[in-house]
């Protein structure tokens, strides 16, 4: 365990350097990840024409989608594509030979990229919160600490969920398509398609027990000060529960899957 922890900082650092070297790509990735802002633009039209839906004002939508953009760039989903590419090309064989488990290789590499994106986006979000009227987060120290923990939990759950899914690659060649199906269904209960407060009741009920809200809606609602203490504790409990479930699922699937692995190339 100590060896593993010692391996993380240099691995993350090298991934950070790679992300900084290809910063043009990172910036392009952020710019083209504007889908949340498109949905926001439509909501702003709805507000302007017919008044705030379910009490959500222009300011609420601005605050929600600014934070959603941050959360989207902070998700650990991207490891699915890396796993899939390596299983197909046989590069996973090389990774298996290294002293650090492939999971940690992918995670540290992803963490490096997230860190770079976060250092670019977080100041932008802070400046936007100061300058744009209506875009406002009711900050107090306790809430900020809670939000930081919720962000870490969001990353952890999305990373473990994606990693578990990636292991399907040991049995099938359709991992990425299955993942997109899973993600697409989940996006209705995560707060991606629309803020959960604007969704029908049955979607909200489903969202309260499924893992997806932890990865997006929960940290945003917390940041916007829309959750009381009870709802906050419940959100953390659900998130931690899913973290444990996916950690367990990952371990079981890995043990069974890696035995089936046949390098296709090398």
């Amino acid at each position: 365990m100590r060896e593993l922890l010692a391996a993380y900082p240099p691995l993350v650092r090298s991934a950070t350097l790679a992300a900084v070297t290809y910063r043009g790509r990172a910036v392009l990735g952020v710019i083209t990840g504007f889908f949340p802002l498109l949905t926001m633009a439509v909501w702003l039209t709805v507000v302007a024409e017919g008044g705030p839906p379910a009490g959500w004002t222009t300011g609420d939508f601005l605050s929600y989608y600014a934070a959603a953009t941050l959360l989207w760039n902070l998700s650990g989903n991207h490891v699915v594509w890396q796993w899939d590419a390596d299983m197909r090309s046989g590069d996973l064989s090389v990774r298996l030979l290294r002293p650090v488990h492939p999971f940690h290789q992918y995670t540290s590499s992803d963490l490096g990229h997230r860190l770079v994106l976060l250092t670019m986006l977080a100041p932008a979000l802070a400046v936007a919160a100061l300058l744009v009227p209506g875009l406002d987060y009711p900050a107090n120290p306790v809430r900020l600490v809670a939000v930081a923990v919720a962000l870490a939990l969001a990353y952890g759950v999305s990373l473990l969920m994606a990693s578990t899914f990636a292991l399907i690659g040991f049995w099938s060649t359709q991992t990425t398509n299955m993942w997109m199906l899973w993600w697409g269904l989940g996006s209705f209960t995560s707060g991606w398609v629309a803020p959960l407060a604007l969704m029908p009741d049955w979607v909200r009920t489903a969202a309260s027990v499924l893992p997806f809200r932890t990865t997006m809606g929960f940290p945003i609602e917390l940041l916007m000060g829309r959750l009381d203490v009870r709802q906050t504790l419940y959100g953390f409990a659900v998130g931690l529960g899913w973290l444990a479930v996916f950690a367990l699922l990952y371990r079981i699937t890995w043990r069974r899957g890696v035995r089936r692995y046949q390098a296709v190339a090398g």
Binding site: L28, F35, W43
Partner: protein
């Protein structure tokens, strides 16, 4: 005219070869078609959330928005099928110098580079998209006419040309920047903007999207089909498409002049 038929014949041969190599992966094809259908249902369900709170956004009802979403899938499917697989290869063409071999062939270089490869995985997307558009028209319940259909076909042809011009422009940039993957994403981002009618965005975004011709991709063809297109657009659209194609062709030729050939 013989030049045209010869070009068409050679492109058909290229496409037949592309299809033959791709039908090897049948499971992949089925899985991708299933995913296409899923994304379409996803978009329909996602858009319906707005209409829980209002009957129409900027004068577009839910059914009318479906017409646009269907067209978005039609155009995006065409882009992924015909244009994206060719744009993707640009980085390697330039980096490995294999573009040399395409340039010396006795065939129009732009056509060969931009249309040679075909991705059959999204072959059904345009069909699915048009099915959704038809559904939207039926649900809108105002019927359609021969004039509306004809002007729709006309506007859609202009939209396809515009999208082609956009891709050729990306290819010209790829010769210089050697970053086709990123440029492909920029191209997709452009098309993504046409997912909803541009009227759904407020100004100044709406004006920008009309000038940058995003509105010509799906909004105006949909308006034509719904019989409420400003007739002047029937002339403006082909003019915009022609200008875009000429501009992209000139940019492509210019970029080739700066291309030095990495191998050879």
């Amino acid at each position: 005219m013989t030049g045209w038929t010869r070009h068409a014949r050679i492109l058909l041969i290229c496409w037949r070869a592309a299809v033959a190599s791709e039908v090897e992966y049948r499971l992949n094809f089925v899985s991708n078609v299933a995913l296409s259908m899923f994304w379409m249902l996803w978009a329909v369900a996602g858009a319906s959330v707005y209409f829980r709170y209002t009957g129409a956004v900027a004068g577009w009802t839910n059914a009318e928005v479906l017409v646009v979403i269907g067209l978005f899938f039609t155009l995006n499917g065409l882009r992924q099928m015909l244009l994206q697989p060719n744009l993707e290869r640009m980085t390697d063409y330039v980096r490995l110098g294999t573009l040399d071999f395409l340039l010396i062939k006795p065939f129009d270089a732009q056509l060969l580079v931009s249309l040679r490869h075909l991705n059959v995985n999204t072959l059904l997307d345009p069909v699915l998209g048009l099915a959704l558009t038809t559904t939207g028209i039926v649900l809108a319940g105002r019927g359609t006419s021969v004039t509306a259909l004809a002007s729709f076909a006309w506007m859609l042809a202009c939209a396809v040309l515009l999208m082609y011009a956009l891709t050729v422009l990306m290819m010209a940039l790829a010769v210089k920047l050697v970053a086709a993957e990123e440029l492909g994403r920029v191209g997709y981002a452009f098309v993504e903007l046409s997912r909803f009618p541009v009227d759904l965005y407020r100004n100044p975004v709406q004006t920008i999207l009309t000038v940058v011709p995003i509105a010509f991709l799906t909004t105006y063809p949909a308006a034509a089909l719904l019989g409420r297109l400003n007739p002047s657009m029937l002339l403006l659209a082909p003019a915009a498409a022609a200008c875009a194609v000429i501009f992209a062709t000139l940019a492509w030729r210019r970029s080739l002049r700066s291309y030095a050939g990495a191998s050879a």
